[in-house]
């Protein structure tokens, strides 16, 4: 059994990483500057082209407020809808149970699994779990593929390799594909990965992805993507499994569409290349109108809903706003700490809102404490957040709990005696 680390060890390791791999890494700072400039330019273009997007924010907030306040009811309704659609629905209480359910659905070892980018699967460490059971698992989103081959963790909610420069990406892709790639051509890098992963898609037994929203009334998953990898992962294999946090559920199809269009617009896209709506296994009724499952797409559709503390959090008036996060990642491009450290600011989830997710969902208070005290409480993320999530307010409230538990950093602990003379 793994020994529980002391708070001092946790701080020391965190600081070594955030300073060593983050703040002192000049390449990372440069990558972040480029990413920030691109984000702002893209967002400007998207909002100028679709100025009505600014009005999306208020309605999106209301949908989330209602959904989180009615979470358990919506979970039940979603599971009924999925089953009505001839899919399978599960509610996993924690990460371990979610991974176990998915492993059981996949079945015997040595299956080929192709995955789409999903923070929820990162939360449960699904890839590592399945690999340890002998499955060949491939991340198929380019950024996440780079994360996998370098043995790292995602550095941003939507752009997992935001910390990499083109020079580093070319080196990594050259190593794994055996092609000599130049940093001057991102197009060639993309083509090399496409060619490398094409065989994996066609021979995969199982496709796995997350979702950006689920409509409870129809049991429909909404998945935004640009690369087309999820299109393949959700279409070619026999089985398709979605692992989705319960907070992604909203009441209706219209609500789900509103949430995804808000997500992509503030994630700086005019429009994504693909928006998938998946409500069950593939089917046909072309012979005598008899509905038969397993046409060209997957024969089986499984939705694993992940609780992992979300239901309890939805009842906490001080912190339930954490669950409003759509993971658009907009806030991170404006965070002064993310500028210098990218996802090293955070443990499983990055940034200030990520510190809150780590504390309540993914890692627990003790492991998340250094990230919570990394936040500069400057409130810039709230302004950039399309849902106006008040991260700084929640960070301050959480600090009171962490301080009480003895999880504050040494400097903070000394304030009481040195400055307040108490």
């Amino acid at each position: 059994m793994e020994r529980e680390r002391s708070i001092e060890e946790i701080y020391n390791e965190y600081m070594a990483e955030i300073i060593g791999d983050g703040a002192e890494n000049e390449t990372l700072r440069e990558a972040m500057q480029r990413a920030r400039a691109a984000y702002r330019a893209n967002l400007k273009r998207a909002l100028e082209t679709f100025p009505e997007s600014v009005q999306y924010k208020e309605k999106a907030r209301k949908i989330k407020e209602y959904s989180i306040d009615h979470l358990e009811e919506l979970i039940e309704r979603t599971m009924e809808s999925v089953r009505r659609n001839h899919g399978h629905a599960y509610l996993a209480k924690d990460a371990e149970e979610a991974n176990r359910i998915i492993a059981e659905i996949i079945g015997e070892p040595k299956k080929i699994v192709v995955k789409g980018k999903s923070l929820t699967t990162e939360e449960t460490e699904l890839r590592q779990y399945l690999q340890a059971r002998g499955h060949e698992v491939w991340e198929t989103d380019l950024g996440e593929f780079l994360v996998q081959i370098r043995g790292a963790r995602p550095m941003h909610m939507l752009a997992p390799s935001v910390d990499l420069t083109r020079e580093e990406a070319a080196k990594l892709i050259s190593e794994v594909t055996g092609k000599e790639l130049s940093p001057d051509s991102i197009e060639e890098m993309v083509a090399a990965v496409r060619e490398f992963l094409r065989d994996k898609f066609t021979s995969a037994h199982v496709g796995i992805a997350g979702a950006n929203a689920i409509s409870a009334d129809t049991g429909t998953l909404f998945i935004i993507e640009n690369e087309g990898n999820i299109k393949l992962a959700a279409s070619l294999p026999e089985k398709f499994i979605a692992l989705v946090g319960v907070e992604k559920i909203v009441p209706t199809l219209d609500d789900a569409f509103h949430m995804v269009k808000t997500t992509w617009r503030f994630a700086n896209y005019m429009v994504p290349s693909y928006l998938h709506m998946i409500s069950g296994p593939s089917k046909t009724g072309d012979i005598e109108k008899v509905t038969t499952y397993g046409a060209h797409g997957p024969r089986e559709f499984h939705l694993v809903l992940l609780d992992n503390g979300r239901i309890e959090l939805s009842k906490n008036p001080d912190f339930k706003e954490i669950l409003y996060c759509m993971k658009c990642g907009a806030c991170m491009y404006e965070c002064p700490l993310f500028w210098i450290a990218a996802g090293h600011f955070g443990v499983r989830y990055p940034g200030g809102i990520g510190a809150l997710w780590d504390a309540f969902i993914a890692k627990g208070f003790k492991e998340a404490a250094p990230a919570v005290y990394t936040c500069a409480i400057c409130d810039r993320c709230r302004v950039r957040c399309p849902l106006n999530i008040d991260t700084a307010r929640m960070i301050i409230k959480l600090r009171a709990i962490l301080y009480e538990k003895g999880y504050a950093p040494d400097v903070t602990k000394q304030v009481k005696t040195k400055l307040f003379k108490r």
Binding site: R29, L43, P336, A376, R382, I396, V415, K416, L419, F420
Partner: protein, 248 residues
């Protein structure tokens, strides 16, 4: 008029005596009766922001008693945290309210300048103004600082822009970058990098001769950042230092 200056010890504790001197000098020029709080605690507002909640109420209660004993007409501070805490959090959390107004120095001087309309000397320099996160973004109070600086002849004020502010119908200052001063109370060794990055990323490209924040905490972050980044051609200058220089 009797004015209590809150945060005097913070300015001294952070080596910003130059800012303190300029405030005292200006108050003298205005002819106000300036009073200080005895045995003032350094940055007691941090008790809330850092989670040191077991002493917070006691600190705010003591502050209230000490301030009200001085019987001022107004409490002012170069720091935004105190203004914000007394505006909302302290009344909400502890039911404590000051019997006198507590305003930020930018607001105090904006009012005084408007009322007195003094003839100020020119300040022919490029000045970068950062709106402190608490005063600006959290309280939405930007105009006072702009009004104060608008009274100074020949000053060129530069503020940070943001590409989507207009489309979103927001004051660009709401997006002002942050020199991460609060990290001095949590992870200062990490804060050094953030401050340096702020200076290199936000200040240096805009080529000001002087830079300052509306909030003395943000201003301290800018000072530290300039020092860490070893930038000598941009000088930290708080708005009261400019006012004191140009006041005839």
């Amino acid at each position: 008029m009797k004015v209590v200056l809150a945060g005097r010890v913070n300015l001294m504790h952070t080596g910003q005596e130059d800012v303190l001197e300029s405030i005292v000098s200006l108050m003298g020029k205005l002819g106000v009766d300036l009073a200080f709080i005895q045995d003032e605690v350094v940055c007691m507002e941090a008790s809330i922001n850092l989670g040191i909640s077991d002493v917070a109420e006691e600190l705010f209660r003591e502050f209230k008693d000490k301030v009200e004993a001085l019987k001022p007409d107004v409490v002012v501070s170069a720091y935004a945290a105190g203004v914000a805490k007394w505006a909302r959090e302290v009344p909400e959390r502890y039911g404590l309210r000051l019997s006198v107004p507590y305003i930020h120095l930018t607001e105090f001087f904006a009012e005084e300048l408007e009322r007195r309309k003094p003839s100020l000397k020119p300040f022919p320099h490029r000045y970068f103004l950062q709106h402190g996160c608490t005063l600006g973004r959290k309280l939405g109070r930007y105009q006072a600082a702009r009004e104060v600086l608008s009274h100074i002849p020949e000053i060129e004020v530069i503020e940070e822009d943001y590409p989507t502010a207009e489309i979103e119908g927001l004051d660009p200052a709401v997006f002002n970058s942050c020199p991460a001063s609060w990290l001095n109370f949590t992870l200062p060794e990490l804060g050094e990098y953030a401050k340096e990055n702020y200076v290199l990323d936000v200040l240096v490209p805009r080529k000001p001769e002087f830079a300052g924040s509306t909030c003395a905490n943000g201003h301290y972050g800018i000072r530290q950042g300039l020092e860490i980044a070893e930038i000598e051609d941009i000088k930290p200058l708080y708005f009261t230092q400019i006012l004191d220089q140009v006041w005839r």
